[in-house]
Symmetry: C2
Subunit: 156 residues, 2 copies
């Protein structure tokens, strides 16, 4: 059964970074601005959280580039062939990104953040506060390729 779901952007990114670069996202400052469908009260109280989770749409990924099976992460043959749902790359079904970033300030309908790995004008689908209880409650583990891939992601 194929179920189609309609989603609407609730905000957009305003950032100095307008190209999808693989690494060095940590120091990027960006703004998230709610669309005309909202008033500032949709963000009331958000400033009491240190971090937010931003769910966004990789709208620049062409549909024909979407991977539905397995591939080498970043097409790097040194890393194993892994399924698209075992990696976080952007060329994925539904083209959804999800990142936890630091909240810098909230003013009216604008949120300032740092460490959001989404380029200028990216449509945002949801914003959630990070609650400690929603983070892993046990130690996490991951394969070596993921640790290697992430080495320069936030800071080169």
């Amino acid at each position: 059964m194929t179920q189609t779901i309609q989603i609407t952007a609730i905000a957009h990114v305003a950032s100095g970074r307008s190209a999808a670069i693989d690494d060095d996202w940590g120091e990027v400052h960006a703004k998230i601005v709610l669309t005309d469908d909202f008033t500032p009260d949709a963000l009331a109280g958000l400033q009491d959280f240190s971090h937010i989770e931003v769910i966004f749409h990789f709208d620049k990924v062409l549909p024909e580039k979407i991977e539905t099976g397995a591939r080498h992460p970043r097409n790097n043959k040194n890393w194993p062939l892994v399924g698209i749902f075992a990696q976080r790359g952007k060329n994925r079904p539904n083209r959804i990104g999800s990142t936890i970033c630091r909240l810098v300030s909230v003013s009216g309908k604008t949120i300032e953040v740092s460490g959001l790995d989404a380029i200028d004008r990216t449509p945002i689908l949801d914003i959630k506060p990070v609650m400690q209880e929603f983070l892993p409650r046990e130690k996490t583990s991951q394969p070596n390729w993921a640790t290697e891939l992430m080495k320069g992601y936030w800071q080169k």
Copy 2:
């Protein structure tokens, strides 16, 4: 500018819990089964991660119940009036849920997880591996109401 984005379920939840209950989700075991659009290779290598992030659709929430401004979390007047994007409740624009849960096993097109707070038949929009580098790199902070609200969420 209103941008509509088409999304398709990539999997569904199979769980013994079929009602949206507020608390006690920690011990719930559930299965995630990929749709006919995928083959098992979409999950290759996923078993090397201890946790996955599941992005899903609260499809049982009626559109007229969606909050776009501020409300008391769980309609509890003891907690402050906060914006819908400063809480994680299900009656939110785009009705998107996002939860990190423990991966128990992967077999064919089925993932077994524990601690997924989505009911039976919930459409799943994306599955991502949890990489430690995508978790907050600083200590998080949150308001007291959030800590109180989460007290019985995973375990009563």
